[in-house]
């Protein structure tokens, strides 16, 4: 199927949900759902996607949906999948299902990390999708371990002494891949075909698969509502957010910009980095560029990409 065919498919996340204008989470969720060929049970960690799509008595989900709490979507879907396996074995059910867990970066990198790691180790047949907007956006833009260095958030505000978040972000895709699962990938909504292709690969896996999807958040990133997709593209062109996949241990780079752009191109599109452009913070821009370069080089090495 080409992209047009996918666009014509009946959406399984209905319009009318209450996510903000320009929020990429719904774009991501809709693309993921369009790659599923079976009825699904969707789990969602507490977060923007959850609170905005299932406000009682309404739901945007065409499939069965369960929200349990913030830190336990992987464990919750483990239970659903266990029930499914039990019913299949007992001959009480003969239909194929997809099991999908959505979590934001808070519910994935931080509070839900143990639950995720446990579920992956146990080998449940599920596709875990992290929509990474780089902070606790639902509670009002608090820093997470996915927040990029230098970002000003409400718990890592740029102040007179401390210029925003001081630590670099955690690389969750690498950590998940280190569990030795069949498929883990990083993708972004500027390339919908990349999301769909990776989601299809993830659904094809018998066991856990993981997708980390950059999901720009205009409120938290202090960016223009109509620039979310563009920002996600610049994230790839600056090599801040490389598109790669780890398939049965093999690392593969999925996008190499013709000309690697400076990370400032990405930072300057977002108000959360404004303070970095003051003279006294120039060294931070250099640090951030250095980190991006190191990370990019590491990924290229792992993917066997020659200079």
């Amino acid at each position: 199927m080409n992209l047009k065919d996918y666009a014509r498919k009946e959406p399984r996340l209905s319009p009318g949900h209450r996510l903000c204008a320009g929020c990429a989470a719904s774009t991501v969720a809709r693309l993921i759902m369009s790659a599923s060929e079976n009825p699904a049970v969707v789990g969602c960690a507490t977060g923007c996607l959850e609170v905005s799509t299932t406000i009682y008595p309404y739901t945007s989900w065409k499939d069965s949906f369960i929200h349990n709490a913030f830190e336990n979507v992987a464990a919750t879907i483990s239970g659903v999948e266990a029930a499914y396996r039990s019913f299949r074995r007992q001959g009480k059910l003969d239909e194929d299902f997809d099991f999908i867990a959505f979590g934001g970066d808070g519910g994935t990198y931080d509070i839900g990390f143990q639950s995720l790691s446990g579920a992956i180790e146990r080998g449940h047949d599920m596709v875990y999708v992290c929509y990474d907007n780089g902070a606790y956006m639902n509670t009002g833009i608090q820093r997470s371990s996915a927040t990029p260095k230098g970002a000003s958030t409400t718990t890592s505000p740029a102040g007179n002494e401390i210029p925003g978040k001081e630590q670099k972000r955690k690389e969750i895709t690498d950590i998940v891949a280190a569990h030795g699962i069949e498929y883990a990938a990083q993708t972004a909504p500027w390339r919908p075909q990349d999301i769909i292709k990776k989601a299809e690969k993830a659904f094809a896996v018998q066991g856990p698969a993981f997708l980390n999807v950059l999901a720009p958040c205009p409120r938290g990133w202090r960016s223009e509502n109509d620039k979310s997709i563009e920002i996600s593209r610049v994230a790839a062109d600056t090599c801040f957010w490389p598109l790669f996949e780890v398939e049965e241990g093999e690392w593969k780079l999925n996008y190499q910009p013709r000309e690697k752009k400076p990370v400032t191109d990405w930072l300057e599109m977002q108000g959360r980095f404004d303070h970095l452009f003051q003279d006294e913070n120039e060294h931070l821009l250099e640090d951030i560029q250095e980190q991006v370069d190191e990370r990019w080089q590491m990924i290229k090495n792992r993917c066997g990409v020659e200079e």
Partner: protein
């Protein structure tokens, strides 16, 4: 008493017999994490799974938080879901306990009662379950391995009853019941299956013809109605517990109600207690009766929801009642059972003087003589104008 089902008599520990009950129930899923003194339940059940004796999908989660989270997912998928835990494990589940009951999922969970940290301690008290007393779970307590076996099987029926649909904790005293070998009458596997029947959930995530949304956001406009419905379900529990207990009795000869009265009819003073201590208290009652003291005992089985009126009516007419609490609330107003009994009596018979005795924390033994001394103090309280010391600690070094 005539019984409908054949039973066999076995020598088992409390944990072993709970494991056997779980095998006989043959739940669709067990998602569990080991913790002393519950460990044998999980270990034994693992063996049943490994030997193909059950159809259960056994999920060896990485924490109790995930155990209860996975139970919620499984139960929402229409599975008969079970787990087991104790102490800090139950405390770690705390957040999800509320979600399980509020989502009206009939999960059954043996809780092998153990003291909460700190200091860390592996022995019996009720601080774990009492910490979950307002979580919306039904709580049953048993005196011995037989009752725990019977309660585990009945819990399935109670939880899944259409007027209830609430999760159940089956409490058993850590080590005292969980690790002591007792003679227990076991039903046949078939008789257990006949008693619990096929589970037919009202909704399931795994019905693609009728997809459901479980766990939505409900704000000021709907949250309260969810809670009222939950409260209404709690109101139905006592009747269902008695109905299931009667039917169980018809089949096995062992009937169960909300509580058991022992020599309470003509008693002047009585003790109310939960769990294994009631066995010891019964001996104290017999001894005191032989000395001419009109002593009685009320052994509470259903602690949550609290059958306040029924209990108060049973205690009505007593001079004084001693409430044995194996947990403290640190409220300075006594243990959790005391607060409930006192308030129940206030409505029905305020002339009964309630006195609280906190005992046995961290597995400290309580013996027949200590309980007898409680009765003697109650006789003094009965004669006094007012209770001088309403909250007392027994068996502790001052």
């Amino acid at each position: 008493m005539s019984t409908e089902v054949e039973e066999k008599r076995v020598a088992k520990t409390g944990n072993e017999i709970v494991g056997e009950a779980m095998r006989q129930i043959n739940p669709d899923t067990v998602c569990a994490y080991p913790i002393t003194p519950q460990t044998d339940i999980v270990q034994n059940f693992s063996q049943y799974v490994a030997d193909g004796e059950v159809d259960t999908e056994f999920v060896t989660v990485e924490s109790e938080h995930s155990a209860m989270s996975a139970c919620v997912g499984a139960a929402a998928s229409g599975a008969r879901a079970m787990t087991a835990t104790a102490a800090n494990g139950l405390a770690l589940m705390w957040e999800v306990l509320y979600i399980a009951s509020s989502t009206r999922l009939p999960i059954v969970m043996p809780v092998v009662n153990r003291a909460l940290s700190a200091p860390i301690n592996i022995h019996c008290d009720h601080s774990d379950a009492m910490g979950a007393r307002d979580s919306g779970w039904i709580q049953l307590y048993g005196e011995n391995a037989q009752e725990v076996y019977d309660n585990t099987i009945q819990a399935v029926r109670i939880a899944e009853h259409e007027d209830v649909r609430l999760p159940v904790m089956v409490n058993l005293d850590g080590f005292i019941i969980s690790h002591a070998v007792e003679n227990v009458n076991m039903m046949s596997d078939e008789a257990v299956q006949n008693f619990i029947g096929e589970y037919e959930p009202e909704f399931s995530l795994l019905n693609s013809e009728d997809p459901v949304t479980v766990g939505p956001l409900a704000l000021q406009d709907f949250y309260f109605e969810f809670k009222k419905q939950q409260a209404d379900a709690a109101e139905n529990v006592a009747d269902v517990v008695q109905e299931v207990g009667r039917e169980y009795g018809e089949r096995t000869g062992r009937s169960y109600g909300l509580f058991e009265e022992y020599r309470l009819d003509d008693a002047e003073v009585a003790v109310v207690a939960l769990g294994s201590t009631t066995g010891t208290a019964r001996h104290s009652v017999d001894k005191l009766r032989s000395e001419g003291v009109k002593a009685g005992l009320l052994k509470l089985r259903l602690f949550r929801p609290f059958p306040a009126r029924e209990i108060a009516e049973a205690l009505s007419g007593l001079e004084a009642v001693g409430v044995l609490d194996r947990a403290d609330t640190f409220s300075t107003t006594g243990g959790p059972l005391f607060a409930d009994i006192k308030s129940a009596l206030y409505d029905v018979d305020p002339s009964v003087k309630p006195v609280n005795y906190i005992y046995g924390l961290g597995g400290r033994d309580i013996d027949e003589e200590e309980i007898a001394s409680v009765y003697r103090e109650l006789l003094e309280a009965a004669d006094a104008d007012r209770v001088e010391s309403p909250v007392n600690y027994i068996g502790v070094r001052e």
